[in-house]
């Protein structure tokens, strides 16, 4: 009996640890993407931001032998790429999906080309000098804690600061925000760039946690899963972080299932399928809520000036 219990708790421990590890970059990207969602910018470029930062932080760490410099370079890259995305969509008015996707393809290609040119090792490269981020326990690094902390900070920013209120106003109704004298474009830039910085951290985590390895397109859709997390959360940071964690856990559960004999491919497909199912569940809940609101409105009747409670 105790043997089975030990086995079960080992599995649960593995799922939590591995889940947190794989969820970390998704969490960071999702929190960053949440800011964009708040101002109604559909930031489809999260994948590009993650991959670009992953590459540059890897290179910087490789050259200097210092992961923290790598982290800094990664954040910078995230900011720069995000600024480019903001410029192309907000200022030049390009379609967010096309620009975002275009950037994804461009960054994938560019990092592949540079990987071949700089390291003469097309496909992937294992760095002997880059090192990796220090771990707290097993595979959970300090940056995972940072990610969780940032989710809380993002929540505070969204709901308890002046900038957060203005960003939400822009997201709900940008022409009303404009009429209120808010510089809408400036706040959109700000939101996207903040998101870029977070993606920069997320990107740095990917190649430098454990193995000092970079391979072509190593983000494998993490950015898109982060987008799904943002959609699920309607731009709310804590929910976005929770959704990202959920996807991380499905990944870890999948690996465990492999041990039980599940085929490799089906296991790898789990997080993607989970994403689609999660979106479905959210949509159903949304429809139910809408129906309830309509019946409530029908029961309440119309509010008029005579039955409004004064101030309160």
């Amino acid at each position: 009996m105790s043997g089975e219990f030990a086995a079960l708790s080992a599995v649960i421990l593995f799922v939590i640890v591995s889940g947190l590890q794989s969820a970390t970059p998704i969490m960071l990207a999702a929190t960053g993407g949440a800011f964009s969602a708040q101002v109604n910018v559909f930031n489809v470029a999260l994948e590009a931001l993650l991959l670009g930062s992953a590459f540059t932080s890897f290179c910087a760490a490789h050259v200097t032998g210092n992961v923290w410099i790598g982290l800094l370079v990664g954040i910078l890259t995230g900011v720069v790429l995000a600024a480019i995305f903001a410029f192309l969509t907000v200022t030049l008015g390009g379609n967010e999906i096309i620009i975002g996707f275009g950037m994804n393809i461009a960054v994938t290609g560019l990092t592949a080309v540079l990987l071949g040119s700089l390291f003469n090792s097309p496909g992937s490269f294992l760095s002997p000098t880059a090192g990796s981020f220090p771990m707290i326990y097993s595979k959970i690094g300090w940056l995972t804690l940072v990610a969780l902390l940032l989710v809380a900070v993002a929540h505070w920013h969204t709901f308890h600061t002046r900038a957060g209120l203005r960003m939400r106003a822009i997201g709900f109704d940008s022409s009303a925000a404009l009429a209120a004298g808010i510089r809408v474009d400036a706040y959109k830039y700000r939101a996207v760039i903040m998101g870029g910085a977070l993606c920069g951290i997320g990107g740095a985590v990917i190649p430098l946690s454990g193995l000092s390895l970079f391979s072509v397109a190593m983000t494998a859709g993490m950015g898109f899963i982060a987008i799904a997390a943002v959609i699920l959360a309607d731009g709310r940071p804590i929910l976005a972080g929770a959704a990202a964690l959920f996807f991380g856990f499905t990944s870890a559960i999948g690996i465990q299932l492999q041990a039980f004999g599940w085929p490799n491919e089906l296991v790898l497909a789990l997080p993607y399928v989970a994403t689609v199912l999660a979106l479905l569940v959210k949509a159903i809940i949304g429809l139910r809520r809408e129906a309830k609101r309509r019946t409530r409105q029908a029961d309440q009747g119309q509010i008029t000036t005579t039955n409004i409670e004064v101030v309160a």
Binding site: H160, F172, A177, Q297
Partner: protein
């Protein structure tokens, strides 16, 4: 600021000119508004009154001329600069964020901050409550704006302007969305503002209000000032003449028509809300051949939902709509919207929708696309699946000619037409079908007096020719002018259904806000 006596020249516009492309909106306009008084700026749609006020509010920069406030010359490039100088504007279409609460909307853009960039929620709410009490504008501070009726939203807008410490308050057509009873509340608020020393400018095209509330009246026509004077010497007729430039005769009222069979029979229709309000909760009405019936109701009353159900665009939750046109069409909870709409059209319903840009026409494509709306099942326009563009263009040309529409031809795009002309095009398109029943939503909303008159004339002609017309509108004046019978919707139900002769504006207004007739008096 030097002490200025109340009544003295305070806001001075000197030789303001402004053009938008080839459209000269303001032509050498010079106007004076006295301090602490109510000044009305009147004129038709397109006369330039909104543009002039937008110059003061910092929304638009003039091409020439200057604005002086209290002796100081001002030049605003943004609304924020104008706000810093004490100018605030309440727009015709509410510029509030529906998903945020009242207090959040009021402080938005002018927030009190605490440590760091933290929003000081406590102080914000307190400020809003104080403001609300000081100016006697009661508002539910924590309610979401989207749950509030339009009249309360307007009060929130006024508080928002006051929160920014405006001395000059501009109101753009504030009464167009209010019932007669709600207007009283607005004018009380204006009196309070005046008592606190504010200067009020309000834009209107409603002559009675202007004569009753304004001390000073400025009349504009086609971008120029026609008159600027105290209201002592003005009466309704002279004011109307100044606005339009000629004597305006009202549409002749005709005798009670001879009514034919029932063409529309709405029975206990219920439909959940599409926006705010309770939706329609069980309404019944009938329309006969030869009648013009008006459907009145404020936004959120259920009037909109009822019209969508009658038009077949939304499937009712309960009840039925039976249309007896060239054949009988029945719509109930089991119907399918697309099929209902097609069936209604085939049976002889015409529908002029409220939104001529997004619903009534296809923007960005030549007019013939819009001309054949709903008619592609006819072999004349589409044979064996292939569209006959030639006949479609010919139809568009016919509509333009018969409807007296100013457009460059069947290939013009709808957005190049003025509002009035597009409305005339859509109206004529529906009339070409010789409808058994014409459903018209807000048929003259936002168009100039000339076009409005033409549209109303055409609607009455349909009834005179033996058809039936159902007009849904929030404009009581229009309904009283055009209709033989008026139905009022409030709180999702029919609360009044009377022949025109038995209706007064006060009675209708009371019904629209759910007040008893005695309360209205």
């Amino acid at each position: 600021m030097s002490p200025i006596q109340s009544g003295e020249d305070y806001i001075v516009f000197s030789s303001i000119s402004k053009s938008f492309g080839s459209n000269k909106a303001l032509d050498d306009v010079s106007v004076i508004a006295p301090r602490g008084r109510v000044t009305a700026v009147v004129g038709e749609n397109g006369a330039g009154k909104s543009t002039l006020m937008k110059v003061l509010a910092g929304v638009v920069e003039p091409d020439a001329g200057s604005v002086t406030i209290g002796g100081e010359r001002k030049s605003f490039r943004t609304t924020r600069e104008a706000a810093l100088s004490g100018v605030g504007m309440v727009y015709q279409e509410t510029a509030l964020v529906p998903e945020l609460s009242v207090w959040e909307n009021i402080i938005l853009g002018w927030e009190p901050v605490g440590a760091g960039a933290t929003l000081s929620k406590h102080r914000a709410r307190r400020d809003v409550i104080e403001l609300s009490e000081r100016y006697s504008l009661p508002v539910p501070v924590d309610a979401l704006v989207r749950d509030l009726p339009v009249s309360v939203q307007q009060q929130v807008e006024i508080l928002k302007v006051l929160h920014r410490q405006a001395d000059i308050v501009i109101l753009d057509e504030p009464t167009s969305v209010l019932t007669p009873q709600e207007r009283v509340g607005l004018f009380d608020a204006m009196t309070n503002l005046q008592a606190e020393g504010k200067t009020i400018l309000f834009i209107s095209h409603k002559l009675d209000e202007v004569l009753n509330t304004a001390h000073h009246v400025t009349v504009m026509r086609k971008g120029r000032v026609v008159a600027s004077q105290d209201n002592r010497d003005l009466d309704r007729r002279s004011l109307a003449r100044m606005i339009v430039g000629r004597d305006v005769a009202p549409i002749e009222r005709r005798a009670a028509p001879a009514l034919g069979r029932v063409v529309l029979d709405v029975s206990s229709v219920a439909l959940g809300a599409l926006h705010e309000g309770p939706g329609i909760r069980g309404a019944s009405l009938q329309v006969r051949q030869g009648e013009v019936v008006g459907l009145a109701g404020v936004s959120g009353s259920g009037q909109y939902e009822l019209v969508q159900a009658i038009a077949g665009l939304e499937t009712p939750d309960r009840g039925s709509v039976v249309f007896d046109g060239t054949r009988e069409v029945r719509i109930d909870a089991k119907s399918n919207s697309a099929q209902s709409v097609s069936a209604l059209r085939a049976a002889g319903i015409g529908h002029i929708p409220a939104d001529r840009n997004l619903v009534g026409s296809l923007r960005g494509r030549p007019l013939w696309y819009s001309a054949v709306a709903g008619r592609l099942h006819e072999p004349e326009f589409c044979r064996r699946g292939i569209i006959r563009i030639k006949t479609a263009r010919a139809l568009a040309s016919d509509i333009i000619a018969a409807g007296d529409v100013v457009a460059s031809g069947p290939d013009a795009h709808p957005e190049s037409l003025s509002g009035g002309n597009l409305q005339k095009f859509i109206a004529q398109r529906e009339l070409m079908l010789k409808p058994v029943l014409l459903l018209a939503e807000e048929p003259t909303h936002g168009i100039d007096i000339g076009a409005a008159r033409e549209v109303r004339q055409k609607l009455r002609q349909v009834a005179a020719d033996g058809g039936a017309v159902l007009v849904a509108s929030t404009d009581l004046d229009e309904l009283l002018e055009m209709c033989d019978r008026i139905i009022v919707i409030f709180d999702g139900r029919v609360v009044l259904d009377k022949v025109r002769a038995a209706c007064t504006e006060e009675m209708l207004g009371a019904a629209m806000t759910g007040l008893d007739e005695e309360q209205a008096a």
